[in-house]
C-alpha cells in the first residue's frame, strides 16, 4: 500500500503558492481599491481558484465569466483608442 502523497507533492499546492506570492506582491505594490481592475491580480485569483476548483462541474462557466470580465476591462480602455485611430471619436 502506497502512502498518500503529501501536500508538498501535489502540483496544486505549488500553483497556489506561486499565484499567492504574485498576488501578495500586487497587494503590496498597488492600492487595494484598484486591485479589482488589476489584470495580474485577477489572473492570480483565477489561477488559485482554478487550482482548487477545476473539477467542479460549473468551472467552465466560471472561466468564461472571468474571461468575459477581462474582455470588458480591456475593451473599456482600448476600444476608445481604436475608435480614435479610426476617426470615430466617442
Amino acid at each position: 500500500v502506497r502512502p498518500k502523497p503529501g501536500i508538498l507533492s501535489r502540483p496544486e499546492f505549488w500553483e497556489i503558492l506561486c499565484a499567492a506570492a504574485l498576488l501578495a506582491w500586487r497587494v503590496r505594490q498597488r492600492p487595494v481599491s484598484t486591485l479589482w481592475a488589476d489584470w495580474l491580480s485577477i489572473v492570480c485569483v483565477f489561477w488559485i481558484a482554478s487550482a482548487l476548483g477545476r473539477r467542479w462541474k460549473h468551472w467552465p462557466a466560471v472561466t468564461a465569466v472571468v474571461m468575459a470580465g477581462l474582455l470588458a476591462l480591456y475593451a473599456s480602455r482600448q476600444v476608445p483608442l481604436t475608435l480614435g485611430a479610426l476617426g470615430i471619436s466617442p
Binding site: P60, M67, L71, A75, R77, Q78, L81, G87
Partner: protein, 578 residues
Amino acid sequence: VILGLSAMAVANAATLLAAHAVVRKLRMGLGSVDVVLFLLVRILLISVAVLGAGLARVLHPLSLGLLGATTLALLVWGGAHRHLPSLRPFPWGRGWTIVGGLLLARLLMQVWIFAPAFDDVLSYHLPKVAEWVRAAAIPAPLGSDPRAAFPAGFELIETWWVVFLHHDALVEMAGVEFLLLAGASMHALATGLGWSARTAGIAALLFILGPGLYFQATSCLNDGAVAALLAAALALIAAGAPLPLLLLPLFLGAGVKPTALLALPGILLTAALIPRAGSRTEGSKGIALGLAFAALLTGISWYVRNAVVFGNPVYPMGPGGISSGLTGTTLQQAGPSLRSLQENLTAFVDLRIYDALAAPDGNCTLGFNGGAAAFALGFPALIVLLRDEPLFRRVALGVAVSTVCILACVVLDSWNSRFILLLTALPSLALARLCERSRPIAALAVLALGLQTVSTFVPGNLSHGRLGALARQPWAERALLPPPPTLDDGPIGFCSDDFGPAYPLYRPDFSRRVVYLREMGADGLLTRLDRDGVKRIVVFGPLLKSGPMFDEATRRGRLRPFEAGPWKGYDVVPEGSR
C-alpha cells in the same frame, strides 16, 4: 515600370518555384511544416540573391530579372513545375479561404496605402535600402546614425520589393512575407503539439491578428520578422525537424536583429526538452546542410562586415552598450541586468498589458499590443492548458525563458514590448485549444478576434488624418513626410548629431542623392558642399556638436537658413555670388 514589373514577376516566380522544389526534396511530409520550410527557403533565396547581387555590384532589376529567368527556365526544364500542388479544391476549406482572402486583401491594401513612418525606419533602416538601390550595391554604412551598421537581414527582403520598381510603394511586402511565416509557423506548431487543423488555424489567426505583430508587417520594422523566425524554429522543433533545418530560421534571425540571439536560450531549452525521436525527414541531408550553411553566411555577413569595417562585430554596441551621441543616455545596454528585468516586467504588468495608453502600432508604443484575445482569454487559458498538455508546457517554458532573457537585456523605453512579440504565441495557442472544449469561450474568442480585426485597420501612428492624407496622395509620391522642395534634382545634404529622418530626402523613387555631412569645421563643410554640388542642407535636432560649424558658414555668407514645413536647414550660397 513595365520592365521592372516583368522582372519582379519572373524573379518572384523563380524563388517560389525554387523554394517549392527544395522543400519537395526535403520530404518532411507534414503539411504546415512544409509551408513553413517553403516560406523560410523563399526568404533565404531572396536574401542570398540580394546580398550576392549587392556584393557583386549588380543589384538592379535587369540582373535580378535575368537571374530569375535563368533559374525559372532551368527549373521548368527539370520539370519542377509539374509537382506544384493543386489548389482546387482549396485544401483548407471554404470558411478559411474566405477569412484568409479578406485578411490578405486588407493587408495588401494597407501595403499599398501605408508609407514608412517610424523614426527608426526613416533614420536608419530604410536609408540603407535607399543607398543600396541607388548604388546597385551594398556599400559600407553611410548614414549619420550609427545604428545603420546593425544587421540588415530584413532590409534585404525590403530591397527585393523595391529594387525592381525603383520605388518604395511595395516596401511593406517584406513584412507580409514574415507575417505569413508567423501564421504558418503557429499552425505548424499547433499541429506539432498534436492539435487539430481547426485549432491550428485559430491559433494562427489569433497570433497574426495580434495588433503589434500585425502592424509590424506594415511598418518596415524587423521585430515581427524576428518573432516569425523564432516561431518557425519552435514549429520545426515540435515537428522533429533535423538540426540543420532548425538552424535555418535561427541563422536568418541573427541576421535580422540581435534580439533573435537574446531569445536563443529559450528556443534551445525547448529543443532540449522536446527530443527529436528519429528525425522525420527522409529527404536529402545535403540540401538541409546547404540551406543551413547559406543561412549562416547570410546571417553572419553583417557581423563579419562590422568586424572588418569597424573592428567590432557588434558595432555600434561597445562594452558599455550604445549611448546617445547627443545626450549620452544609454540606448541599449550590454548584457543582462536584473534591474532592467524588474523594470520591464513591472511596466509590462502595470501598464503595457492593458494597451490603454495609445492606439496599437507597429512599434508597440506604450503598450504590449498583444490584443484583446491574449489579454482577456489567452493568458487565463494558458493557466488551464499548462496543467493538461505536457508538450505545450515545454514550448511555453522555452518562450517564457526567451521573454525573460530579452527583458533582462534591454533598457526600459516606451517601445520595447516589440521585442517580445513571440510571447503572444502562448495565449494564442492556449486559447485556440480551449475553444475546442468550450463553446462560450469560443464565442468570446470570436468577439475578441472581432475587436482585434477592427483595431488592426489603422495604426495609431497613422491616425488623426495621416492615413487619409496618404490615401489622397498619388501613389508615386506617397510619403508621410514629403521631402522639402528644391530648385533642382541635385544632391541634398543631411546632418544630425544623433538621430534624424534622412529617408524621405531620397524621395519614394530614390531619385535623389543624399550627402551625409559629418564634417566638424566650416572649411571642411564648405569644401564638401562645393565638391558634391549640394545646394540645400536639411538638419535635424539641436545640433549641439555641428551647430557651430553651420553658424560659422552662415556668418561667412555661404549658408542661408530656411524652414519648410517640418524641415529646416540651410540653402547653400554659391561661392562668389554673395
